[in-house]
Symmetry: C2
Subunit: 373 residues, 2 copies
């Protein structure tokens, strides 16, 4: 076991309840990590994040590398001090954003050259550079550089898997900070043989945690779930598994019952800025006229600050009036909803009733519940 060991507290079916130990505290899993792209979870203070129960947050290497720069953040004492968050932080490698730049980047075996979306300047990202940047940022969990291809283009996926594996080895080699856990990433698109090969290769490198990349990028939901079920058989059971970029309530439940431990996604905060509230029964669009005099909280069963203090009527008023407070209050609620959904899933695992919990959730959940509200 490494310094970042993950200890298993219990399992139920494929579901796993555990604790991941980091230099900035323990993370109970399964866990959902809110995304703080530019070193801030949008519209929230660190105190609000802590109050709503966030245990692990994610920041994006690509954005922070470009602005204010990893060396600036290093000189300012690292990301924890910079953004005033003393809990565990995870950074991605920057690769996903760079590969999303489409016609602004060129990949080769050694790395990828890209142009900044901010000012068009040219930059180069290699496995060694991705690690150096993340060591400067100083997160507790950092990620190997990988390539995330279109998931159903076999040629593209095969090439990406080769590069991803080579880069994983180089990242391991380059990584020097002993207070950071470096996770490897499995690729392979929707192809079972490639996924299995990739999982075996990455598992063989003995990372303290393994991530599942290249999902939720355009494939169908059954394809996503099939890959998760396949990887559950291949990835080591004694290491946490991180499903990158996934975070709707329904996807979290389906991921946990298939053995995933860590998730992150911009969905809850992006939805909040678009006036949508997440609940166990589905999503509410707070701009709808039906809420104009609705004195109920978003979710009567929720005990977040927003639900304890404000009515749907007030939230609707803030939303239609374009007030920033709408984004803050809905972000608090949406993140609280996902954080506590994970807490409840963990409890269900520990009490050996995960399947019943998942069934009940599926029965009660309609993705868009407004028309029936």
């Amino acid at each position: 076991m490494t310094a970042f060991g993950w200890s298993l507290a219990g399992t139920d079916g494929r579901g796993r309840a555990g604790t991941f130990h980091t230099s900035h505290g323990d993370v109970c899993t399964p866990v959902f990590a809110p995304v703080g792209t530019q070193g801030t979870v949008k519209a929230l203070t660190p105190d609000q994040l802590e109050s709503l129960g966030a245990g692990l947050i994610l920041a994006n290497t690509y954005h922070l590398y470009l602005r204010p720069g990893h060396q600036v953040i290093a000189r300012l004492g690292g990301l924890h001090g910079f953004m005033g968050w003393n809990g565990p932080i995870l950074t991605d490698s920057g690769g996903y954003q760079v590969f999303s730049l489409a016609d602004r980047r060129d990949v080769d075996g050694d790395g990828v050259t890209f142009r900044s979306h901010l000012d068009g300047t040219e930059h180069r990202l290699t496995p060694e550079k991705a690690i150096a940047i993340q060591e400067d940022l100083g997160a507790d969990i950092i990620m190997a550089l990988d390539e995330c291809p279109v998931p159903n283009d076999r040629d593209a996926v095969e090439g990406a898997v080769i590069r991803t594996h080579n880069w994983a080895e180089r990242c391991l080699e380059a990584h020097t900070r002993t207070d950071q856990a470096l996770f490897g990433i499995v690729q392979g698109g929707i192809f079972p043989d490639l996924r299995t090969d990739s999982a075996e290769f990455i598992a063989g490198l003995d990372f303290p945690g393994n991530a599942i990349g290249g999902l939720s990028v355009g494939e169908s939901k059954p394809e996503t779930l099939a890959v998760l079920e396949l990887l559950d058989q291949t990835l080591p059971e004694d290491r946490p598994r991180y499903l990158m970029g996934v975070g709707s309530p329904e996807d979290l439940v389906e991921g946990v019952v298939r053995g995933v431990d860590i998730f992150d996604c911009v969905l809850p905060t992006r939805m909040a800025r678009n006036h949508a509230a997440l609940t166990r029964q589905g999503r509410l669009n707070l701009r709808r006229a039906e809420y104009i005099e609705d004195t109920r909280p978003i979710d009567p069963a929720c005990d977040c600050y927003t639900c304890l203090k404000f009515t749907r009527a007030y939230l609707r008023h803030l939303s239609v009036s374009g007030e920033m407070l709408a984004a803050t209050l809905l972000s608090i609620h949406n993140l609280h909803a996902l954080v506590h959904l994970m807490d409840d899933l963990r409890q269900a695992i520990l009490e050996l009733r995960l399947n019943a919990f998942a069934e009940e959730f599926r029965d009660g959940y309609q993705k868009h519940r407004d028309p029936e509200a």
Copy 2:
């Protein structure tokens, strides 16, 4: 003394320290009221407002009348419940915003007809309507309808004074809620004789508080101060005086030493959204490159949440990155700065050293301090 009595705790020169009693708690004066135009002080939760020390907040009748509507707010339990603020609230009459609509409004002796800036619909505001709306909103301090003219156009000011006086009487007559304090408003532009006449007339109506309207609307600073000095001689000493729409640090100090007790202004929160921080030494523009690695807080002498927790470097990063959190953190700091400036002015009055405090403030203050920072 009415139920809303203002008790004087001490005076020093023209400065006054007091307490205004309302149904939602006492307000220590002098006081600065943050502005919550649409029923929210922009970018802040009520908890953040309370933490930074806000004692009285203002909401705008014009905006809330149009959206969501005063009757909606009344059915939802009034403004306090609607916006989750249990402390004292002040509403204006809506007149100032309506008169600002320029070519969208027509004034006559009975009231003013205007078109909504939201959808162009036609509305009519009379003294009776302004009171009815404010009774529905349910603030602790409400304002008579007045007309705020261009301050140096004698004909316009004379007409506005006549209407303002007539409307003040009608507002008094229309007001029925005994849990609200209705304040009268003095007009008269920059003309000493009109100001004195107006102050005598309004004082004669025996409002529990008197407001000074029609200042900070284009006249010079010496003209503003001359009017304040004049009114200090005419307005009753046993009632609080409210200088509407004024709120830079330098104007607050000059108002307090001339006998003003209550102020409100969008300046601190608007500045926050424009990346400017207020300090006792002057304003900082947080977007400036010089702050990129500045590890100091905005103001080392400040103990607000923002200054205790974040560096100028981080605030600059948030500002240049367009993050909402910049507005939140700078609003917390700017409001805290003004609220505590008022606390310090009050203490200086009670300790009979107001003049020395004001002198020291003037010596240390440069409106735009960046070039020398």
